[in-house]
C-alpha cells in the first residue's frame, strides 16, 4: 500500500458458501462512478475518499454501505442483512377463518385413509417416507424425508373447508431432507401466511433469491461465477441448471458449458438439464449434434416431469423454432399441441420466474402446479374460471382439480369430500374464493373514478 491508499475489507457472513466466496459486490466512488467489481472476501486497496459498497445478499435484499477510506488505515464494511435466514414466504394467502378452528392434515403422496375431521387438533398422517412433526402451539410443522425416491415432496394442509398444497424442496439426492413449515394466521387481515424454512445448505439459494427479487444483473453475475462450481461439486445441481438457464436466456454462451452434459447424465431426473442441453446442441455447427439435440428435446417433452418455468419456456421456444426447419416438424407440432394446455395456463408475462413458483410440470395435466405458487387474486369472472377447470375424464393424478386461487366455493368443498374419502388424488390444491376482497377492490375502483381517475381499458 503506497501514498494515499487505504484498505477496504468487506466482511460477509461466513455461514454461506455463496456469500463468502461468490456474492459479487461493486464499489463506487463519491461521484457514484464504478471503481471495481469484486467477489472475493479479500482486502482491496483504494485511494482515500468516500466509497459506496453495494451488493445484493442471498435474501434478495439490496444493501449499500458507505465507507470512508483513510490513508494507511483499514476500513471494515459488514453489509449483513437484518434477516439472513432462508425463510421464504409463500405469496399464497388463505383466509384465516377457514383454518381456525381447524384440523390440519399433512398428507404426502399416497396417504393412508383419512378419517372424517374430528376434534380441533392437529393430526399428522405419516406417509411411508415422510416424517411430519407438528407443534400445535407454535403452528409449526417439521418435515423430514425418511426415504429416497421422493423428489420432490408435496404436502397438503387441509382443513374442513380449505386446503393448501406446498411443494417442498426436499431431495434425497441433494441431502436436503428437512424443512420447517410455519403458519401465521392473522386475525387483523383475515389471512394466513405460510412460510417454508430451508436449511442453509441449499447453496444456490442466493441465485434464486436474486431472481425472485428482480436483481437480474446480479443474478447473472452470480450465475457466471458459480454455476460450474455448483454443478461440479454436486453442491446444488438444480440451482446450477437454473443459473445456466438464466444465462441461456439473457446472454447465450458462445461456448457450450462443459458441465451440462455430465450433469444431465448423472442427474437423469433433472429434465431442465436435458432441455438446456438440447438448446445448446441446437446451435451446434455439427448436423449430428443438432439431430441429437432434437431427439433429446422430443424425448424430454414426451413424458411428464418437473421443470423450471424457464425450462418450459425454452422447450416451447425450441419446439417452435428448431434451426433445421424441416426436421421433425410434425413431431414438434404434436408436442406443442400436447403442451398447449399448460402453456395457456402459465403466466409468461413475467420476465423471470420467482423462487416461489419456479416449478411447473411438463405435462398437459400440470395445471394444478400453479396452485400454491401463484399470487392469489380475487376471481373476476366466474365464467372464465369455470373454463379453466380441467376437462372431466382426464387421466392422471390431477384429475378434475381446479387452479389454486381460481375456484368456486361449492366445487372446492365437494372436492375436499373426495379427498377425505381417499378417492381423489392428493397432489392437488384448492382455495376458497375471496369475494369480500373482490368487492373491496371494486369499491376502491369506484371511489377512484369519482376522484377523477380513468382506466385505459374496459
Amino acid at each position: 500500500m503506497t501514498g494515499n491508499m487505504g484498505t477496504l475489507i468487506v466482511e460477509l457472513p461466513a455461514d454461506s458458501w455463496i456469500l463468502r466466496d461468490h456474492l459479487p459486490f461493486e464499489i463506487r466512488d463519491e461521484k457514484y462512478a464504478l471503481v471495481t467489481h469484486a467477489q472475493a472476501d479479500r482486502p482491496i486497496d483504494l485511494p482515500e475518499g468516500l466509497y459506496a459498497v453495494s451488493l445484493v445478499l442471498d435474501t434478495g435484499e439490496r444493501v449499500t454501505r458507505p465507507a470512508l477510506i483513510k490513508r494507511g488505515q483499514r476500513t471494515v464494511v459488514s453489509p449483513a442483512s437484518s434477516n439472513c435466514g432462508s425463510q421464504r414466504v409463500s405469496p399464497l394467502l388463505v383466509p384465516a377463518d377457514e383454518l381456525e378452528p381447524t384440523v390440519l392434515r399433512a398428507l404426502f403422496q399416497r396417504p393412508p385413509p383419512v378419517e372424517p375431521a374430528g376434534e380441533p387438533c392437529w393430526i399428522a398422517d405419516l406417509a411411508p417416507n415422510l416424517a411430519v412433526l407438528h407443534d400445535p402451539e407454535r403452528r409449526q410443522i417439521g418435515v423430514r424425508l425418511d426415504a429416497p425416491d421422493a423428489n420432490p415432496a408435496w404436502i397438503v394442509l387441509a382443513s374442513e373447508r380449505a386446503a393448501l398444497q406446498l411443494m417442498l424442496p426436499l431431495s434425497d439426492h441433494h441431502e436436503c431432507r428437512d424443512c420447517t413449515i410455519d403458519l401465521h394466521p392473522s386475525r387483523a387481515t383475515g389471512q394466513l401466511r405460510v412460510s417454508v424454512t430451508l436449511p442453509p445448505r441449499r447453496r444456490g439459494r442466493a441465485l434464486l433469491a436474486l431472481m425472485a427479487t428482480g436483481k437480474v444483473d446480479l443474478a447473472l453475475a452470480v450465475a457466471k461465477a458459480a454455476c460450474e462450481r455448483l454443478a461440479s461439486e454436486h453442491a446444488d445441481p438444480v440451482c446450477a441448471v437454473y443459473g445456466a438457464l438464466l444465462l441461456e436466456r439473457c446472454e447465450p454462451p458462445a461456448q457450450r458449458p462443459p458441465w451440462i452434459e455430465p450433469l444431465m447424465n448423472e442427474c437423469a431426473w433433472l429434465s431442465d438439464a436435458k432441455i438446456l442441453h438440447a438448446a445448446l446442441l441446437s446451435r451446434s455447427s455439427e448436423p449430428d449434434e443438432r439431430r441429437l439435440g432434437h431427439a433429446l428435446l422430443l424425448e424430454t417433452t414426451r413424458t411428464p416431469s418437473m421443470l423450471f418455468a424457464d425450462s418450459f419456456s425454452l422447450a416451447i421456444k425450441l419446439l417452435r423454432r428448431w434451426p433445421i426447419a424441416d426436421a421433425g416438424s410434425d413431431e414438434r407440432r404434436a408436442r406443442l399441441s400436447a403442451l398447449a394446455g399448460t402453456s395457456a395456463r402459465l403466466a409468461f408475462e413475467h420476465a423471470f420466474t420467482s423462487v416461489a413458483w419456479t416449478r411447473v410440470e411438463l405435462d398437459a395435466l400440470s395445471d394444478t402446479d400453479r396452485r400454491a405458487e401463484v399470487p392469489a387474486r380475487p376471481p373476476r369472472d366466474r365464467e372464465m374460471l369455470r373454463r379453466q377447470r380441467w376437462p372431466s375424464g382426464t387421466q392422471g393424478p390431477f384429475e378434475g382439480w381446479p387452479l389454486a386461487s381460481e375456484v368456486i366455493a361449492g366445487e372446492v368443498e365437494a372436492e375436499f369430500e373426495a379427498v377425505r374419502q381417499g378417492s381423489a388424488p392428493m397432489r392437488a390444491v384448492a382455495l376458497p374464493p375471496q369475494p369480500p376482497a373482490e368487492h373491496e377492490a371494486q369499491w376502491r375502483l369506484v371511489e377512484a373514478y369519482e376522484q377523477g381517475v380513468e382506466a385505459f381499458g374496459a
Binding site: A33, P66, F348, L445, A448, G457, A458
Partner: protein
C-alpha cells in the same frame, strides 16, 4: 464527425439512430361517446379517454428535447407520432402528428420497420397508449381511433397487436424498447371468439438477432392501467420521471456517463407506478417481459441533481448546531449551515456530513448517499 443538431445538442453524424413510434389514442370516434358512434363501437362498451394522447405527446416531446440533448451518440432518427386527442386535450402545436387511425398506423409502422431493419445497430423505441383489450395471455392489443368502424370483419380490426409487432422485428434493430400503456383486462368480446385475430401485426420471424428487447407493460395480466383525467398516465409519469433521472445509475463499464439502463428503468417503473396507484388506493403493477434482457443504455444524462432535506432532532438543538457537507477534497459543498431543516440540491453521490453542536448535544459524522429521487433524513444529535 460531430455536428450540431437543431435541438442544440451535438450529434455524431454516422452514429446509429434511435427510431421511435409513438401512438396515443384518447378519441375513439365510433364509441358510444364518440363523434360517429356505431353498433360495433358501442358493443365494445368503452368510453373515450382524456389522457392517452397527452401521455404519448409527453413521451414524444421528451424524445425530441431531453433525449436529443443528451444522446449525441445515438441521435433521434425517424420519429413517427400518431395521436388522437380528445376534445379536452391540448397537444403542443410544435408537435407534428397524424391521427392514430389504422391506415395511418399501418403506414407509420411500415416506415418504422424499414428504418430499424436498415441498420442493425439502430435502436427501436415504441410507446403506445390507449384502450387495451386482453384477448389472451399472448397478446397485448391496443385499440386505434377508428376501432368499431362500420364494416369491420373482426372486432379488433382497428387495433394494433404489440406482441406481434415485436415478434416481427426479431431480425431488426439489435436494441429495442417497447412500452405499452394500456389496460390488460380480459374483454367480454374475448369470450365470443376462439381465437380472436385481426389486429394489425407483423409476421413472426424465425430468425432472432435482437440483443435486448424488453417489453414494459403498464399493468399485469387482468389489471387496469390508470391516469388522472387530463393528465399523463401513471405509467407515463413514472416513465418520464425515471428517464429524467430517478432511474439513473452512475458511470460503469456499460456507459461512461450517468445513464438509465434497461434494468434500472424496470426496477424504478415497478416501484413508482405502484406508488402512484397506491396514492389513489388502487393497484397497478408494471410487468417487464419480452426479452432478451441484456443490459443496455436507454438514456444518457448529466449527473442528476438530487434534493436533500436534513431534519435535526431534537429541534431545540437547531440554534447551536451547524452542518458541513464535504466531498473527497475536503472542500465543503455546504459550509456551516445553521438553517434547519437543511434543504438543498446537490449532485448525486456520496458526501461526508459533519454536524457540530454545542453542549449538551453531540457532534455527528455520517456518510450520506444522495441518489435520485432524493434524500430525506433525520440527524440525531441527542444529548451527551
Amino acid at each position: 464527425l460531430v455536428v450540431t443538431s437543431s435541438t442544440g445538442g451535438n450529434v455524431v453524424s454516422n452514429a446509429p439512430k434511435l427510431h421511435a413510434l409513438i401512438i396515443g389514442v384518447s378519441n375513439y370516434r365510433h364509441f358510444v361517446d364518440g363523434d360517429e358512434p356505431s353498433p360495433a363501437g358501442e358493443a365494445l362498451d368503452m368510453a373515450g379517454l382524456s389522457s392517452a394522447a397527452t401521455s404519448a405527446a409527453a413521451v414524444a416531446t421528451w424524445l425530441r428535447t431531453d433525449y436529443c440533448r443528451h444522446n449525441p451518440t445515438v441521435p433521434l432518427g425517424l420519429c413517427e407520432i400518431l395521436l388522437s386527442p380528445s376534445n379536452g386535450e391540448h397537444i403542443a402545436a410544435t408537435l407534428d402528428y397524424v391521427p392514430a387511425t389504422l391506415a395511418n398506423v399501418r403506414v407509420a409502422l411500415f416506415k418504422f420497420v424499414k428504418a430499424c431493419a436498415a441498420d442493425r445497430n439502430s435502436v427501436a423505441f415504441v410507446y403506445v397508449a390507449g384502450h387495451g383489450v386482453q384477448i389472451s395471455k399472448d397478446e397485448v392489443i391496443v385499440l386505434l381511433e377508428d376501432a368499431g368502424a362500420p364494416g369491420e370483419l373482426s372486432p379488433i380490426e382497428h387495433a394494433i397487436d404489440i406482441v406481434s409487432c415485436r415478434d416481427g422485428m426479431s431480425h431488426s434493430a439489435a436494441t429495442q424498447f417497447w412500452f405499452v400503456d394500456a389496460c390488460r383486462q380480459r374483454h367480454a368480446i374475448a369470450k365470443q371468439f376462439e381465437p380472436l385475430k385481426g389486429a394489425l401485426g407483423l409476421p413472426r420471424r424465425t430468425e432472432n438477432t435482437v440483443e435486448a428487447s424488453p417489453l414494459y407493460l403498464a399493468a399485469s395480466d387482468g389489471e387496469l392501467a390508470f391516469s388522472e383525467k387530463g393528465k399523463p398516465s401513471f405509467f407515463c409519469r413514472a416513465l418520464l420521471e425515471s428517464l429524467g433521472g430517478h432511474a439513473a445509475v452512475g458511470p460503469d463499464e456499460t456507459c461512461p456517463s450517468w445513464y438509465v439502463s434497461t434494468h434500472s428503468l424496470g426496477d424504478r417503473l415497478e416501484i413508482r407506478v405502484k406508488e402512484l396507484a397506491s396514492d389513489h388506493d388502487l393497484q397497478q403493477n408494471v410487468v417487464v417481459t419480452g426479452g432478451p434482457f441484456a443490459k443496455r443504455v436507454v438514456h444518457r444524462l448529466p449527473i442528476p441533481q438530487v434534493p436533500l432535506r436534513l431534519h435535526l432532532s431534537p429541534g431545540r438543538a437547531a440554534r447551536d448546531t451547524a452542518a458541513d457537507l464535504l466531498r473527497k477534497d475536503g472542500e465543503p459543498v455546504v459550509r456551516q449551515s445553521r438553517t434547519w431543516p437543511l434543504v438543498t440540491t446537490l449532485d448525486a453521490g456520496l458526501y461526508l456530513l459533519e454536524v457540530t453542536s454545542a453542549r449538551p448535544y453531540r457532534d455527528v459524522t455520517d456518510i450520506l448517499t444522495i441518489m435520485p429521487p432524493g434524500l430525506d433524513r433525520e440527524v440525531e444529535v441527542g444529548e451527551l
